[in-house]
Homo-oligomer: 702 residues x 2
């Protein structure tokens, strides 16, 4: 009988194409790489966006001590800036040394060993989730500052944005970066202008005045120690300005050649801009006398019931350009956008790290398979879900989220830097080992110099980041950061577990010298329930495979049915012996299993191939109605020695949906994306796939 | 190479056994059948338990009009009792005519056609869910009436009980009925005693006084029409006393022989008890002056903030025996238990109906497979989930749930009765057709008489139930019942859809005369990614199957890996040709598909068997880490003509868990339950399974 009725198509379902765009070939990967001007918005948006909340959080913490404490803020801000510079410079070194995109994870694991590496990875994963949460929360805050009516739906809004970002990213990196390039530049530009305008107005003796300037604050009575602690807390909150600096180092492979130089330049450019915006905003925040309180109800004069407390950004914008003015809305819009881009950064970083981990066997291999659009779809979806969960649990409250945020960042910072120190040390040792002949020494001189610089820079970086990590831990631990200290170890342990598991399996299935062939005997069993086309096809195939012995087996659960089957068997003259097996239980597999076992006892350990019809359906819901029993049988029979299961597909009419409308030469293409002709454009050729068969293939004939 | 390393076991996982008990054979099915004294608690608990809330709801509705309206209650209660009698008598007829357990569904579909039948089925399914919800909610109310401290956790409590009941029922019907027999009898006994005591005290001039007696009620001002409507509403709420009467008719197959007589007697007994308890409780409720308000805050003098309003049952018990007395607690406990049993009834009825529907092709076939314990596990789990959902959505609020409840009951009542009328009509017509000879006439005489009685009874039943259905609809529709009017049609449509689907598939795969065999050509392809034992086993099997041609195919995605593979191929002298196919895409399946297509073009439409190693694992989480790619490949290749997939199982060490500790001769037994020797006890013999092979089997050798 003939099964040639259907022709597959190349098209994925329309809806999927509409949302995700056309599938892409591997060749297209190169075109997906980023020129600097596009890389900046993608990788910088995280670091830059953090200036939208860092100054606010810094001033907010100080305000806990009362307005007087705001006097400390310039010094605290200065400390943050210094730290930022050091970190940027340190990462320039890191990018040069490890351009593969593994970032801190790679550095730590290569120089400090597995556990530190995995810890960094865990810290980074946690951070990517929090980056999304914090950025989206802050973005929503800024939107609400402009449109207070949206306040009731803040959480829904936040969740909605995350979902949007996931979809956009499933479309692939290039469209993403392009769609997102503009707002980043608008943000940088508009905020810069705002700062300039603000400062000029101040110099002209007409400083901007924030709406919250007149609100008094009842400062807490603090002991000497408490004062210091408060200042340190403010500092660590300010350090949230550093978050995202590492993004570039994780994204180097996504840059155009020369990757390293481009990445480094992008990093420095980004650092510079971040510093300007951060200090500028802090300054104007002070000048305009913004009073942003952790609990708005502590602001004497502010009606915290009436509505939300406008974000620092919004207050400054309103003070500088006037509330409700066009520039005000531009600033708020750009801020919101850039914050959402920051969330987007995580969707570039997380899946990339995930795939690196999968490659190293620390995460399920599924994370290392690129989707239709050359993006690591699975990773993106996981990240999206995690971020949404966090947002809901913490009610999209920025201040709470910030507490969790910075820890992870500095864990990876510190371990990364320490790793770099080790790296340079080793480099220098190796250089020292060189033969003392002039040529080698000369060539080594430059390297030795750069290694020394690297060592100095990263040592400084390591010292500072570790120090800050301590401060952050001390000041944030009780404010929720402890959660991160639980999450990171758990994640790290899981990763190591996965790694050990894969390793054991590898070991278990590795081919050894004992390998030899020659299993004997060959019995084919076609399981028959009722005589229908799928079964007939299975019988037909079993016959075509010319097994030594082939028998159709029917498990008699219902007397009448098996009688009818035997009748039909005669009627249609099925050219295969029908064997009826009784079953005292409802189980179908168990009697067959007994039969096989018995047969093998009598005929020596044969290879037994069990033929099972398998329905191929077009709708997900159809699978609820099919294949239940046969898959259960397969599951059980596969436990018997010598048994292998042959699934003979039966394509139900609905399965045509899988192929889409137009008829195409080959299935599977819906993942590959391009029809054969275009393959040749790419220069490569698919031996055995397109075109005439290779010698290999020909050797099959005859 | 040898794969004989493992021996399967008969044991299911210990945990499963502990919760579900030992598996049972089909033979055991008979022992699971119910004697009357056990059947009563199982099938009657639903109808009986409804007296725990029916009087309360009846009085509550009347109280809306003010205390004066309570004067109507005796008449309303009387009406309910009359209805109850009629329904019970009608169902006696139904049981006799349709003892197969299909109940109203079978009657309606056989006599009124498909659509009414499916509608009844849908109504019943909805009702089973609501039975669970209402009973559990009321049960929790009564528990809380005794222990008010539990009030905050009422929903959690309700959900917890549902889960408990699901587990108990997954253990199988017999244990269930046994475990549940006692409380039902305790309930009947204790409530009866309470009624007697209450009435005697009243006759002795010392009537019990309910705690709520002194609370005044601000009755609403009602128009004439509103008064009538209110009384009708009270009546329909009172009709909730009838719910569960149909349970017996659905459970006939579960009775011991003579099934029909036993079922009928159980039904009548149940009806009698229900009537006594219902009228008794309503009477004492009136005597003791219970004032139970829809909204407790409308009770003038009752502090509705302080705590929950005690249930009518609790108030009567407290009034009769004294609050906190031992009899009081016995009554509350028994009431709670019997209500939970009512929920349990649904877990007997719902899966049974589900399996009947599956058998008739109106529900997924999976509902018709009995689980390890001879119970329809899937149906029970679905019911449990649905009930929990309803409880959570309606906050386990009894009054709200009652509104939804009664509709479905009376939909099935009415259609069932109408169906019976048709049934008797037809019976009489057939009897009329008999030849007019004495013998036939004589024998027909009795039948004709009984048919006439049946016709009269069921006509009355139909008239009344339809009338009540109208009342219920009118009075409850706006109070939430509309939801049921949406749910039932949707369910019915789904069922018909499923039926049509199965029918179409049946038609699609039916063998026709065009059937003929003789597919030619036989190519085996072993997909090789890396050279590991599972692949080697696959190759070994492919060789053993002696295909005309066999080739190992490797899709080259990573240059290095494929080079390494080729090296190993030489080293281990694999006795099969290795064919490397390049892939410009990440897809593995697509190039293979092209190759197969090409091959078939050149060699005629061969049958191509693709060998794929399949990992068998012991933990659910392992499946996250395995088989992803191979199953995706299988999915895609099965779409190509002539391709069948052979899964060569590779049992990872962890898979030993599947077998449990002790080594047993055969797998699959964990579902069958009994080791081979005991099979012989059952008298039946499993040809080809245990013992020497049958002629059939022997005919295989040579």
């Amino acid at each position: 009988m003939t099964y040639e009725s259907r022709e597959p198509a190349e098209e994925p379902p329309l809806a999927k194409r509409l949302i995700l765009g056309e599938p892409l070939t591997s060749e297209a990967l190169d075109d997906q790489l980023l020129p600097k001007k596009r890389a900046l918005p993608i990788f910088a948006s995280d670091a830059l966006s953090s200036v939208a909340y860092a100054p606010q959080e810094l001033l907010m913490i100080l305000l806990v001590g009362g307005t007087a404490f705001l006097a400390f803020s310039p010094w605290v801000a200065a400390a943050v800036v210094v730290l930022l510079i050091v970190v940027v410079v340190s990462y320039r070194q890191l990018i040069k040394a490890y351009p593969s995109g593994g970032g801190d994870y790679e550095v730590a694991s290569k120089n400090l060993g597995e556990v530190p590496g995995v810890v960094v990875a865990a810290a980074l994963l946690v951070d990517y989730v929090l980056t999304v949460a914090v950025s989206v929360a802050s973005g929503v805050d800024n939107i609400i500052s402009a449109i207070p009516e949206l306040n009731p739906g803040r959480i829904e809004l936040a969740v909605g944005f995350v979902i949007l970002i996931v979809i956009v990213n499933l479309r692939g990196v290039r469209e993403a970066s392009f769609a997102f390039a503009i707002p980043t530049y608008v943000f940088i530009g508009s905020v810069a202008i705002m700062i300039v305008v603000g400062i000029t107005r101040t110099l002209l003796g007409d400083p901007p005045i924030a709406s919250s300037a007149e609100f008094a604050v009842q400062g807490e009575q603090l002991t000497q120690a408490a004062v210091i602690l408060l200042i340190l807390r403010a500092f660590s909150s300010g350090c949230s300005a550093l978050t995202g600096v590492e993004a570039v180092s994780n994204g180097v492979p996504a840059f155009r050649k020369p990757k390293i130089r481009n990445a480094q330049m992008t990093l420095v450019l980004m650092g510079g801009i971040a510093i300007l915006l951060f200090s500028g905003l802090t300054a104007i925040g002070l000048i305009s006398g913004v009073h942003y309180a952790e609990n708005p109800c502590h602001l004497i004069g502010f009606d915290c019931e009436a509505g939300p407390q406008p974000s620092l950004m919004a207050q400054i914008a309103a003070a500088t350009f006037g509330m409700g003015s066009i520039p005000f809305f531009i600033i708020q819009a750009a801020t919101a956008c850039v914050l959402l881009l920051a969330a987007n950064t995580a969707f570039n970083g997380f899946p990339l790290l995930g795939s690196v981990l999968a490659r190293d066997g620390y995460a399920p291999k599924a994370l290392n398979t690129r989707g239709d659009r050359l993006v690591y779809s699975n990773g993106m979806i996981i990240l999206g879900i995690a971020a949404i969960a966090v947002l809901i649990v913490y009610q999209a409250n920025l201040t709470t989220l910030i507490q969790l945020y910075i820890i992870g960042v500095f864990v990876s910072f510190s371990l990364g830097q320490i790793g770099m120190v080790r790296h340079w040390r080793r480099a220098l040792r190796n250089l020292a080992k060189l033969p003392p002949d002039a040529a080698a020494q000369a060539s080594a001189a430059y390297e030795r110099r750069s290694a020394r610089t690297g060592l100095i820079i990263n040592s400084l970086g390591a010292a500072l980041t570790v120090f800050v990590l301590l401060i952050v831990t001390v000041t944030k631990f009780t404010h929720g950061a402890w959660l991160v200290f639980i999450a990171i170890p758990i994640l790290a342990t899981l990763m190591i577990g996965v790694n050990r598991y894969y390793r054991d399996v590898e070991h278990e299935i590795a081919v050894d010298d004992t390998t030899h062939f020659g299993s004997e005997g060959d019995l084919a069993i076609v399981l028959v329930n009722r005589l229908q086309k799928p079964v007939v096809k299975a019988i037909d195939y079993a016959l075509a495979a010319k097994h030594e012995k082939a028998v159709a087996v029917h498990v008699a659960v219902n007397e009448a049915e098996s009688a009818e089957l035997q009748r039909q068997w005669q009627e249609h003259r099925i050219p295969m012996k029908l064997l009826i097996i009784e079953s005292p239980y409802r189980s179908y597999a168990s009697p067959v299993a007994r039969f096989i076992k018995k047969y093998r006892e009598q005929n020596g350990s044969s290879v037994v191939t069990v033929y099972l019809p398998q329905y191929i359906v077009g709708h997900w819901w159809e699978s609820v109605l099919h294949n239940r029993r046969s898959s259960r049988i397969a599951q059980q029979l596969m436990l018997i020695h010598g048994v292998s299961i042959t699934l003979v597909p039966w394509l139900l009419d609905s399965s045509e949906l899988i192929y889409g409308r137009r008829s195409r030469p080959l299935p599977g293409d819906e993942r590959a994306g391009r029809p054969a002709p275009e393959v040749q454009h790419t220069g490569r050729r698919v031996s055995g796939a397109a075109g005439p068969p290779t010698p290999d293939t020909r050797s099959l004939e005859g």
